[in-house]
């Protein structure tokens, strides 16, 4: 048993550390900081789904903001009009969005990469306008207000006992809901990717003809990937609506879809921790580029003014170009190659040529 623990690959320890940090965060942070990290987790969930689609099955989507909108509106309408329990609406939102995504995956089969990107982009553009039309249902441009959910008594008590401090707030409760949902979805994606469907998706991505020749149902796996990633975006949208407490057409601008794709690429496509890094990046970059940089006294005001004025969009673009040039496999790729280089230096060249398989089969 002990030897198994000792031989566990370092990334298992990394997962443990990250899990403990995420679990303990609300007890160390303020209620407001918890709500910020809730948004990080929500972006992570959406990017996890996008990662399955783009990273593993090799299809591009510029329309995931629209799927998030569908999920958020499903939850908002069910909660505010039909008084369904908000926890119950999260899987419903995921399933509704997943079904729509699956159906959209069928015409997507006929489109090659560039045209698929355009078609999904069109979806992201029309969604805010479409939402405005059935005014009775969606509240039109006025949007739908949601009351922040109260944490149940057992959670309040447990939290107060553990932290020995004030009771759990609604923000902290939503953080734990997002963390729980995120953990389940992570486990799901991890299992899909490491097993038969994941291998099939990668085979389709790397060569459709070869995959078909090996007996893989190309169309089936492509639509599956579309449906699955829409399911993730729908769940993320439901949580996004609940944490924001307000859902309106302007909540889901075209830029949201771009941000998600950029997050997936920058975190590292086809990697398991990439989405978390992508989520952190997508949430914090606009805040840092517009707030933190201008607060730093040591940065000359001319430079910080440029950052503030340019807004997050320019910073996104510049970083994306840099990452594509210097680290095409994203932050995860950068970290793994740094780790490999460090290991080589520490262990010496003797390790080379031991005849073992590379330790990381999921980044084929």
């Amino acid at each position: 048993m002990l030897s198994r623990v000792r031989r566990a690959p370092p990334r298992y320890w990394l997962v443990l550390v990250v899990a403990v940090l995420l679990l303990g965060l609300p007890s160390a942070a303020t209620s407001f900081q918890s709500s910020q990290w809730t948004q990080v987790l929500i972006f992570t969930i959406a990017i996890m789904g996008l990662n399955v689609l783009v990273g593993y099955s090799g299809q591009i989507s510029l329309g995931h903001g629209a799927f998030m909108a569908l999920g958020a509106y499903t939850t908002a309408i069910l909660v505010s009009r039909y008084h369904v329990d908000y926890l119950l609406t999260i899987p419903i939102a995921g399933l509704v969005t997943g079904a729509v995504g699956f159906l959209l995956g069928i015409p997507a089969l006929r489109l090659s990469a560039l045209y698929l990107a355009l078609a999904t982009f069109a979806l992201a553009v029309v969604t805010p306008s479409l939402i405005k039309r059935p005014e009775k249902l969606t509240g039109g441009v006025q949007g739908i207000l949601l009351v922040p959910p109260e944490p149940p008594q057992f959670a309040k008590d447990a939290f107060a006992t553990v932290t020995n401090g004030p009771q759990m707030t609604s923000e902290q409760w939503l953080y734990y809901i997002s963390l729980g949902v995120g953990a389940v979805l992570f486990w799901l994606a991890w299992n899909v990717i490491r097993h038969r469907p994941g291998r099939a998706m990668r085979a389709v991505r790397d060569g459709e003809v070869a995959a078909a020749a090996s007996g893989i149902n190309v169309a089936g796996y492509k639509t599956l990937a579309f449906g699955m990633s829409a399911f993730y975006a729908g769940v993320a949208g439901a949580l996004y609506g609940l944490t924001t407490g307000f859902v309106s057409p302007d909540t889901f601008p075209v830029e949201l879809s771009f941000q998600l794709l950029v997050g997936a690429v920058i975190g590292g496509l086809a990697s398991t921790v990439g989405p978390l890094l992508g989520g952190i990046f997508v949430y914090w970059l606009p805040i840092i580029s517009s707030q933190t940089i201008s607060d730093q006294a040591w940065i000359p005001t001319q430079i910080s003014d440029v950052f503030v004025k340019a807004g997050p969009a320019v910073t996104y673009g510049a970083l994306l170009i840099l990452i594509m040039i210097f680290a095409p496999r994203g932050i995860v790729g950068l970290l793994t190659s740094a780790y490999a280089a460090l290991r080589k230096r520490l262990l010496g060249p003797g390790e080379r040529g031991s005849g073992q398989m590379p330790p990381d089969p999921q980044t084929v």
Binding site: G24, Q36, K132, V162, N164, P249, T251, F252, G311, A313
Partner: protein, 405 residues
Amino acid sequence: MARTGPRLATLVVSLMALAACGGSEAQTDPGITSSSIKLGVTIAQSGAAAAYGTIANASNAYFKYINDQGGVNGRKIDYKILDDGYNPAKAVPLTKQLVEQDKVFAMFGGLGTQPQTAVRDYLNTSKVPQLFVATGATTFMADFNSHQYTIGWQPPYQGESRIYAKDVVANHAGAKIAVLYQNDDYGQDYLKGLTDGLGSNASMIVAKESYDTTAADTLSQLSKLKASGANTLFIFATPGFTIKSLVIVTKLAWEPTIYLNSVSNPQVYMGLAAKAGAALKNVTSVGYIKDPTDPQWASDDGMKLYQTVIKGCSTCNPLDGFNIYGVAVAYTMVDVLKQAGSNLTRANVISIASSGLNETNPFLLPGVKVTTGSSDHFPITQEQVITWSANGWHLQGSLIDEQVS
């Protein structure tokens, strides 16, 4: 492994809990010290609505001017501006940041109907004043009873179009009206005001077309409106679309009587439209703020003060109508703080702002008063009809009260 995991987790969690303790101190009114008053705002400074962002900078310039003169009763105003990109999903966390992390005393000058609706319930539950929001959506003034920590400032959109309705009935009795409006709360509010204001004459409206903010231009809508045979055109749009529409009307060789909403009527935009080829014949609008480009105010005291104040903002264009708006609303804010005197509590400040104002603001048209009372939560309700000729707006008649109920 099975045993160490949970133990380690408990240890880390309890260490973090220790770190979290010992921070909070009780204070009755956050954001107030003996030498400062902290205010916050979220406004669009990037994205499609970025043009509005200068309003907060102009307000800040007025606060700097007041601070240089010693502040309000010895306290200097610290105004923290955050960019929400006109997105409600960003306005919510940023507002929470300002309230819970930066500990502002009040929110002042938040912009946009959707972003400010998104944070209204939160601010009212936390009893943080949401002062003088920059939107004319009627709900921000009319729903005071359910949201007693929220107050608007500018004339409501519906009231403004009631004035147009009165003007069109009085001066163009046989008009056939075509309406172009933005398909959101802003455009719909204007349209509702016009329809209500026309009352039994509502059949004067022969055609209406809407556009979405994602549209490239309004050519197809305006072509349809022209084909309807209308001779009077109402444009309820944001500045960019208004400029484009004015040019398209001229290109279509259409010469209707045009009514423009006040948001899009600053002379800067009229100048841009004229440069792009718009004829600008028979254009009517309303105003309540002095226009910095209008020569008739050249020697006016308020305008001179504005010119001094706006020099404190290096990125502000002094001719931009949004900047004098920002300075004027900051004037009201300072007025409220002065009246509160040493009783600087959130409850007292919102009660003065929402029912104790009687102010003559030097940046508004002569006679326009900023007033609130126990049953009047619409700070500005007077406007004056203006018509465009010889490259400038000209005041017509006298002030009209909107009488919104």
